[in-house]
């Protein structure tokens, strides 16, 4: 169990001190903040937010560079999931309006083509499942082969739940470049979010992926009622896992789910979280994922890209819509942030 900030440091220093510490430790030396330090950052006030975002941006530019990785995602199997993740409209356990549907291979290839046309270099195939069965693995085999034959210039990623070692090996054989499996929440908060599987099961899949040769994408969803202490715990746990990419989702309360009536996260809180995660993960791809349009709006989206974010999901999400991809591409051009080319992500 992780110690709290007070347990690790005895007393809480003035809020501005943590930014000076982060500047020397993270920006100058590339050493991530620990859990207690992340908590101090998350407890800073709005008066320090501009300075915090500027520091997080400097860290991103120094340790990751100016490029932004652009990705598109699609659901190959929507709805009817047996799990009860309380934020998710695709669970079959809630009275959500989302119906089960499968995407066929020609439509999957078309979605990859749509993604490549935006300039994205990553295309992630997602399924709402506990883990893949043989039908889904077969669909993945056929789909990945078809995309690789028809859509040059794009890497294929996958997110199809908890895996066995045999399934990990199969995905490597298919040529999957990166595998996504989110922790979603801190270990201490996870039982409030999911009851049908454990945080440890997710962790174990992430470890198998990390050892497989595929890149590991492991992110989270914030704004689910967790405390700032639990948010700091989550960032530290992600830091321990050392994923190549962390997609950061903000809760978009879905009708019919247990979290359907939760409020949206305050934009200042979301921006502070982005910056804190950057200081906890200085070299990691930190991606805008679901919920940013509602939580941050256009102005906040820009501030986040100047506050630690260095990757975006463009276009639509799995069951909800995103901004027009061209709006994000125009924003990146305006910020003089080049889109990461395929050759540099290999």
């Amino acid at each position: 169990m992780s110690a709290t900030a007070e347990e690790q440091h005895g007393t809480t220093p003035p809020a501005s001190d943590i930014l000076a510490i982060a500047r020397e430790q993270v920006l100058e030396r590339g050493v991530p903040l620990d859990e207690a330090q992340i908590l101090q950052v998350l407890r800073t006030g709005d008066d320090l937010l501009p300075e915090l975002l500027e520091l997080a941006h400097e860290v991103r530019m120094k340790w990751c560079g100016p490029e932004v990785e652009v990705e598109g995602i699609v659901s190959i199997k929507t709805g009817g999931c047996p799990e009860d993740c309380h934020f998710c409209s695709q669970s079959g356990q809630f009275t959500s309006p989302v119906r089960s549907v499968w995407l066929n291979i020609p439509e999957l290839v078309k979605a990859a083509e749509q993604t490549a046309a935006t300039g994205a270099t990553e295309f992630c195939i997602v399924a709402a499942v506990r883990g893949p069965d043989e039908r889904l693995m077969s669909q993945m085999r056929d789909g990945v082969r078809a995309i690789k034959e028809s859509v040059p210039g794009i890497e294929v990623a996958a997110s199809i739940g908890m895996l066995t070692q045999e399934q990990v090996d199969d995905l490597v054989d298919m040529g999957i470049h990166r595998y996504n499996h989110n922790l979603e929440a801190a270990r201490s908060y996870f039982p409030q979010v999911v009851s049908t599987h454990s945080w440890e099961e997710r962790w174990d899949t992430c470890l198998m992926v990390r050892e497989s040769g595929m890149e590991l994408c492991c992110g989270c969803l914030v704004g689910m009622g967790e405390t700032v202490e639990q948010r700091a715990e989550l960032a530290a746990q992600l830091g321990e896992l050392q994923p190549d990419e962390v997609p950061l989702n903000f809760l978009n309360p879905r009708p019919g789910t247990p979290f359907g009536d939760l409020p949206l996260m305050e934009s200042s809180e979301a921006l502070r979280t982005i910056a804190a995660f950057r200081l906890a993960l200085p070299r990691t791809i930190l991606r805008y994922a679901g919920g940013r349009e509602l939580t941050l709006g256009d102005l906040g989206t820009r501030e986040g890209l100047l506050g630690g974010i260095n990757a975006v999901i463009v276009g639509n999400y799995l069951t909800t819509l995103g901004r027009d991809p061209q709006e994000d591409l125009d924003l990146l051009a305006d910020l003089k942030m080049p889109i990461k080319a395929l050759s540099s992500s290999l």
Binding site: P97, R99, V101, E107, T118, V314, T320, L321
Partner: protein
């Protein structure tokens, strides 16, 4: 002649009831889930730059 829209595509409630302003706002950022003619839940597929929604009785809608 096309059938009249009777139900809200977002929440599935009757359109003659008040309180669908929030639904209309929501439909800017998500596809319809209910058929506006018969209230059936539709099969919806979202892709990176488009969506389709299919009602077994009234056919398919797609993004503009």
């Amino acid at each position: 002649m096309s059938e009249a829209q009777v139900y809200c595509g977002h929440c599935g409630e009757a359109l003659d009831a008040s309180g669908h302003d929030a639904c209309r706002e929501r439909l800017r950022m998500e596809p319809p889930r209910f058929c506006v003619h018969c209230r059936r839940r539709m099969q919806v597929q979202v892709t990176p730059t488009s969506w389709t929604a299919r009602c077994v009785e009234h056919g398919e809608l797609s993004s503009p």
